[in-house]
C-alpha cells in the first residue's frame, strides 16, 4: 500500500499528529519491554545456581588404620629423626588441634613431681 501524505499544510498537520502519537505508542512499548527486564535477573540467577558446581565433599580418613600409622611414623622420622611415638589420635578440626597436640607432646616427657618431706 502506497502512503502519500499531501504536500499541503493539512498534510503536514496530519503527518505530525500521526507521527507524534505513534511515537508515544512505540516508546511506551519499549518502556513495557524494559519493565520486564528485572525478570531476566531472576531467570539468570536460577540458571547460574543450577550450573554451579557442588562443593567438594570432605573425605573422612580412618586414622586408626595400621598402614596410616606406619606412613605417618615414617614421615615424622624422615622430618625430625629418631623418635618415640607418644600418641596418635584423629585430627580435631579447629584451632585447638595444634595446641592440643603440642600439649600432649610436652606432657609426655614431664618429670613426676616428688614432694620432699
Amino acid at each position: 500500500m502506497d502512503i502519500t501524505v499531501p504536500d499541503t499544510v493539512n498534510g503536514a498537520i496530519m503527518l505530525s499528529i500521526i507521527d507524534f502519537f505513534l511515537s508515544f505508542i512505540v516508546i511506551s512499548f519499549i518502556g513495557l519491554v524494559l519493565s520486564a527486564f528485572p525478570l531476566m535477573n531472576r531467570t539468570w540467577k536460577k540458571t547460574a545456581e543450577q550450573i554451579e558446581q557442588p562443593a567438594p565433599k570432605q573425605v573422612e580418613v580412618d586414622m586408626t588404620a595400621e598402614d596410616h600409622i606406619a606412613a605417618i611414623s615414617a614421615a615424622v622420622t624422615a622430618m625430625i629423626g629418631a623418635h618415640r611415638i607418644v600418641h596418635i589420635e584423629t585430627a580435631q578440626h579447629g584451632p585447638g588441634w595444634t595446641v592440643g597436640g603440642r600439649a600432649a607432646h610436652h606432657s609426655s616427657h614431664a618429670v613426676p613431681h616428688h614432694t620432699r618431706h
Binding site: 503527518l15 511515537s23 519491554v33 527486564f37 535477573n41
Partner: protein
C-alpha cells in the same frame, strides 16, 4: 606595450579565485571564523565547530571559472565539486549515509543505558519532548517549504546531530548545511535556551522535588538491551534501522566486557576520524550562494522554535505524568527528553541543583535523555515511512 602588459595581468588575475570574490563569500568566511572563535573561546561544541568553520572558510574561497582546463572549483555545494578531491569523498560518506551510522557506533560505545533501563516509565518523556519537531514541521510548511523540507527542518527539534543529518540527506539534501549548523549550534546553546522555559513552566516546589535512587541495573540486562532493541527497530522501523543498529552494536561492544579494545576504538579513534570527515563535509556545503538565503534565516528561526517547544512539551509531559504517579518525578527532567545527550540532562540537573543543593538529578535525567535518542529515531523513521522515503 603597456596595454598588452595590463591585459596579460588581467587575464592572469581572472584565472585566480581573487577575481571572483563576492560579498557573500566574505560573509561566509566571517561566519566560519565566528564558529572557530565560539569553539575556542566559549567551548561551544569545539569538536564540531572547528572543522565546520574551517571547511566553511575554505569552501567560500572562490576558485577559477570552470571553463579553464584543469581548474578545480572548491566553492559552491559539495555535490557539485568535481570528483577526486577529499571534500568530495568526505561528502559521499554523508550522502551515502555511511558516516551517521558510524557516529552512532561510537556514541553507543560510550553510552551507559542503565538510567533508561532502571526507570522505564521515564522513557515516555523521550516521546513527549518531541512536540517541537512537529511544531517546526507545520510552521515550515506554512512558510512555503515542501513537506520533505519541512520534515528535515522539523527533525532539528530532536536535537540529535546524526539523526538530523540522516533524515536531511534522505528528505532534503540541499538543506544539509543550514540544518546541520542549526542543529549543532542549538545543542551547544541548550544551557541558555532551556532554563528560562523550564522555570516558567514549573513552580518552586516542583523544581525542588527530590527523586529516590534508582535500582542497580545488572550486567545481563545491559547486554540484553542492545540485542532486544536492535530486533525491535529492525522489525518495525527499517528506515532508521542503520542508525539504531549501529548504536546498539556500539553499546553491545561496550557492555559485554570482552571486546574492550573494539569499544575503545569505536568511541575513540574511529569516532575522531569520523568527526573530522563529517565536519569537513558539512562545512563544505556552506557555500555563500546556497547558505546566505532567506531560507537559511527561516531554518535557523524554526530550529530555535523546535527546541523551545520541545523543552516545554517535555516539562509539561512530566507534569501530566505526575497527575497519575504516587511518587512524583521532578518535572525538570522532562526537558531532558530532547535527545542532546548529555547536555540536556546536565541542564536539568543544574537547574534542579540551583533550587535544592541536595538534589542530584543527573542520573534520573539521563533516563529520558537517552530515551530521547530513540524518540527522535522513531519520529524520524515514521516520518520517512509516511513520506514514502526509504
Amino acid at each position: 606595450m603597456l596595454d598588452q602588459l595590463i591585459a596579460f595581468f588581467n587575464a592572469l588575475l581572472s584565472q585566480t579565485g581573487a577575481a571572483h570574490f563576492a560579498l557573500g563569500n566574505m560573509v561566509m568566511i566571517t561566519i566560519g571564523c565566528i564558529m572557530i572563535y565560539l569553539a575556542i573561546a566559549k567551548h561551544y561544541e569545539p569538536l564540531l565547530l572547528v572543522g565546520i568553520g574551517f571547511a566553511c572558510i575554505v569552501a567560500n574561497v572562490p576558485g577559477p571559472p570552470d571553463d579553464i582546463p584543469g581548474s578545480h572549483a572548491v566553492s559552491a555545494l559539495l555535490y557539485e565539486v568535481k570528483e577526486g578531491g577529499l571534500f568530495h569523498y568526505a561528502y559521499q560518506g554523508v550522502a551515502k549515509l555511511i558516516i551517521p551510522p558510524l557516529i552512532f557506533l561510537g556514541v553507543g560505545a560510550m553510552t551507559d543505558f542503565g538510567p533508561m533501563i532502571a526507570n522505564p516509565k521515564l522513557v515516555i518523556l523521550g516521546a513527549g519532548a518531541h512536540l517541537g519537531i512537529f511544531v517546526a514541521l507545520i510552521l515550515a510548511k506554512v512558510l512555503g517549504f515542501t513537506l520533505n523540507e519541512a520534515g528535515a527542518i522539523g527533525i532539528i527539534g530532536g536535537a540529535d546531530g546524526p539523526m538530523a543529518i540522516f533524515v536531511t540527506v534522505k528528505l532534503a539534501p540541499h538543506l544539509l548545511g543550514p540544518i546541520s549548523v542549526a542543529a549543532y549550534s542549538y545543542m551547544a546553546l541548550m544551557p541558555m535556551i532551556q532554563p528560562p522555559i523550564m522555570r516558567a513552566l514549573t513552580t518552586k516546589a516542583e523544581r525542588q522535588i527530590g527523586m529516590a535512587q534508582v535500582r542497580k541495573v545488572s550486567k545481563i540486562e545491559k547486554i540484553a538491551f542492545p540485542v532486544i532493541i536492535a530486533v525491535i527497530v529492525n522489525m518495525f522501523f527499517p528506515p532508521v534501522a542503520p542508525l539504531i543498529t549501529m548504536l546498539m552494536l556500539g553499546n553491545l561492544l561496550k557492555e559485554v566486557g570482552v571486546t574492550e579494545r573494539l569499544a575503545k576504538t569505536a568511541a575513540g579513534g574511529l569516532m575522531n576520524v569520523i568527526i573530522i570527515i563529517l565536519t569537513v563535509a558539512i562545512g563544505g556545503t556552506m557555500g555563500a550562494d546556497k547558505f546566505l538565503t532567506f531560507k537559511t534565516v527561516e531554518i535557523v528561526i524554526l530550529g530555535l522554535i523546535a527546541f523551545m517547544f520541545g523543552t516545554a512539551s517535555g516539562v509539561v509531559t512530566a507534569k501530566i505524568m505526575n497527575l497519575f504517579l504516587t511518587v512524583k518525578i521532578n518535572p525538570l527532567i522532562g526537558s531532558a527528553g530532547i535527545a542532546s545527550v548529555p547536555i540536556a540532562a546536565r541542564v536539568s540537573h543544574v537547574v534542579a541543583h540551583e533550587e535544592n543543593p541536595n538534589n542530584y538529578l543527573i542520573y534520573h535525567a539521563m533516563g529520558p535523555n537517552l530515551a530521547g535518542v530513540f524518540g527522535t529515531a522513531i519520529s524520524g523513521g515514521i516520518m520517512l515511512a509516511l513520506l514514502g522515503v526509504n
